[in-house]
Amino acid sequence: MRRGRWSAVLLTALLAWLVAGPLAVVFTEAAGADVAAFAREPTEWQALWASLWISAASVALSALLGVPLAFVFERYDFPGRRVLGALVALPAVMPPLVGVIAFYFLYGETGFVSHALQAAFRLDGAPWRLQGPGAILLVHAYSMYVYFYLFVRAALARMDASVLEAAASLGAGGAETFRRVTLPLLRPALAGAALLTFMTSLGSFSAPLLYGGGFRVMTTQIRNTSVNGDQALALLETAVLTTVALLGFALVQWQERRGASVASVGKGTPPALRAIANPFARRAAAAAGWLLAVLLLLPHGTLLLVSFVPVGTWTTEALPPVLALGNYRQMLTEKERLGSLLNSLWMASAATAGAIALALWAGPIVARGRRALGRVIETLLALPWAVPGTVLAVAMATMFSVRAPWLGRFVLVGTVAILPLAYLVRNLPLTGRAVLAGFRQLDPALDEAARSLGAGRWRRLLRITMPLLKPALAAGGALAFVTALGDFVVSVILETYANRPISAQIFSSLRVNELGVAAAFGVVLMVVSAAALGVGARAGGAGDR
């Protein structure tokens, strides 16, 4: 008991230092900046406004795409439904930066689609410029509709058919049932997806950086100010964005507590799939489905294709004239490039392992203890999720650029340690959420049974807790690993020459116009991510007897 209390206090202190500390430092140091000058500057207000409306529009567009798809795949049966249903979630495995460059290759001025249109209609120049808010929204909608799709599909699958039948027997027609029963039952899922999309696009960095041009949102504004050397102003901007994000976070927490109370009353079976009877409609549905799949897979395919194009060989042709493995060879033989691959792998692994260890530490405290500290720990674990990557990076850079050991501040900027540490903090919500959920489903009697059979703390962890949590550990760990591996926003601010990660390598390859190399790195990132998620899902399934 006493030992457990100390462990909880220690963990709270550690998390406060890693998660709350950097944010607190941002706010205290931002207070020193010229707030009045900031408030008078129209470009700041424009950036803030842009962040907000882009996020709101991303929510609307993603919902417009994701919700109908969820209904189609969860309620109707048509040829290819299973395969397509899985493919539709595919944009999720693309790290943000990779998605952005894939779109660039595809829809950019010199991309395949523009090339094709130019050739087809004999245009003088590119038919459009992939730039500004429209381009950002396109990328956001493509990568974020998945949230709506997955959340709503899961909610539909959980829905009890008898509830809908009850509505029908009470005289409600299809439209009325939808409005008065289905929609209210979907509300938690819709709200959850909307908030997730809003927060993700609030922190989105890669798309605004590459496609924004003169159009700035808060994340790119912060980076710009920081690159221009005005650190005080950058901190103030960071503080403003943090405030908005924390408001969103509070909303999410509130929503989740409300959502829990709308759980269905009893167990039920979801409505049976409706088969499309009309053969013509069936074929049309299948064709539409496959067309959609092609559209969704086009960025992945493009990336793969470009990765085989040797640098400088493809100029104005509609399709690249030469395909070769040179880019991959370069990646694997040039010391600096191979190094960044290895850097990303070890840093992502270390950050994931650390985040899992902290989540396992927190699990029993949060799930079993009635202690007030449990709530604090859970909040601290979830908090980094709400913090945009830019904010986290700036906050960590500020916190760890000064030596003040009594405040927990050390000089880590410029060392190899800071980047994996920042990844770890970003990973906490992912491993934390999965592992805590696992702990809550774990019967506490199992641990007690092991204790009464004489098993000590470590033996119980290794032989009971970890095997039983395997699905949660695999799922949370895979997601954390993939996020850290594909990270760009934190890396670009905190990287050092010694631990330059893949995304930084992609970015610098793009800058010197080595598109093929950038694409090859993107493909590797995509493949490793997909493999990690696949392993995570499989390990999760196998442990789940």
Binding site: M1, R370, D443, A445, L446, E448, A449, A450, R451, S452, L453, G454, A455, G456, R463, I464, P467, L468, K470, G543, R545
Partner: protein
């Protein structure tokens, strides 16, 4: 099976005690106190907002089976968890075989526990579950597992998945697992409550046989009288965290130490003292079978309902001043609507003086 017995009790006396246990149970106190193997001394445990266990003392003889009986919230499960070491008492001690184990964590207490939902490790097979607590070389461990499984009639079940077993089989695996490391004391938390009624009686018999074969000192929790009476050599009745009475089933039924025990163990009527020849203004408790239809009886009333119960029937009689009495008698002695008089044969509680 003999190895189980020796180990479980750690040597002399264990077996000798077992045989005489049921006979001795009747004498309750003295013999038990002299050779108390497990002692709970003044245990107290408060949770925020309520006192779960309040100054509870209990002694258990070596090889004895004691039931903790009480309604939900009476503190019986907390008491069991204090014994197992999952909760730390605010006051009091737990002593086993002269050793104070109050501050020992559960993993070092050598108390076996069978959980209400069995808590079998779902990722391990039957053999690995049963062998979990063993600290033996591989060979010896598997021999031990086989022996314990044979004892609970699950020989050669080692490689089965625990999730593929029936409820009764799971219960026996849980028992085997807790007995395998030869614990000093066996604790069972509502051991039969997860079984469907049809299976319960048979499992109860098997459980009793297994425990008696091992001769292990056992404390179990239940909220069902029948279970407590059938399995327990003695029954400890708990109410609001306090020990109301410890005794054999007969003692509890015939000589309850408190009004609560009188009402909780079996059925009882409460009636004004003067109707039973006691002081006016007091309330006395009388069992339904100790009320008798008798034309010379002191209580007048009308039969309003009858509940048939095989060998007899419970008659509800509306007496004067709104008093409703329950009388157990042959099922056909009176009819509904009949005016009757009732005599009191024996007052159950408070003790003293004939009815």
């Amino acid at each position: 099976m003999s190895e189980t017995r020796e180990g479980g009790e750690g040597g002399e006396g264990g077996e000798g005690g077992e045989g005489g246990e049921e006979g001795e149970g009747g004498e309750e106190g003295d013999a038990g106190r002299l050779s108390a193997y497990l002692r709970l001394e003044g245990l107290a445990k408060a949770f925020p907002g309520h006192l779960a266990v309040d100054n509870l003392s209990l002694e258990v003889t070596r090889g004895e089976i004691v039931a903790l009986l009480g309604p939900s919230g009476s503190g019986k499960t907390t008491t069991l968890r204090l014994l197992a070491g999952f909760e730390t008492p605010d006051a009091g001690r737990v002593v086993v075989d002269g050793e104070d184990v109050t501050d020992l964590p559960p993993e070092r207490r050598r108390f076996g526990m069978v959980f209400q939902n069995y808590a079998l490790f779902p990722h391990l097979d039957v053999g690995a579950n049963v062998g979990f607590g063993l600290r033996l070389p591989r060979e010896a461990a598997s021999r031990r597992v086989a022996a314990v499984l044979a004892m609970v009639d699950l020989a050669s079940f080692e490689r089965r998945a625990v999730t593929a077993l029936s409820g009764g089989q799971q219960q026996r695996v849980a028992l085997a697992r807790s007995l395998a490391p030869e614990p000093r004391v066996l604790l069972l938390d509502e051991p039969l409550s997860n079984l469907d009624p049809a299976l319960r009686e048979r499992t109860r018999r098997e459980l009793r046989e297994a425990i008696q074969r091992v001769g292990i000192t056992t404390v179990f929790v239940t909220h069902e009288q029948e279970e407590a009476f059938d399995l327990g050599d003695r029954v400890a009745v708990l109410h609001q965290g306090r020990l109301e009475q410890v005794g054999t089933p007969d003692e509890l039924y015939d000589r309850p130490a408190s009004a609560f025990v009188a009402g909780f163990v079996g059925r009882a009527n409460g009636l004004p003292g003067e109707l039973a020849g006691r002081a006016a203004g007091s309330t006395v408790l009388v069992r339904p079978e100790r009320l008798r239809f008798d034309p010379a009886g002191s209580i007048a009333g009308t039969v309003t309902a009858r509940r048939f119960a095989g060998g007899g029937a419970y008659f509800t009689v509306a007496a004067a001043s709104g008093l409703a009495l329950e009388v157990f008698a042959r099922h056909d002695v009176v009819t509904i609507g009949q005016s009757v008089r009732i005599a009191v044969d024996r007052v159950l509680f408070p003790p003293g003086g004939p009815g």
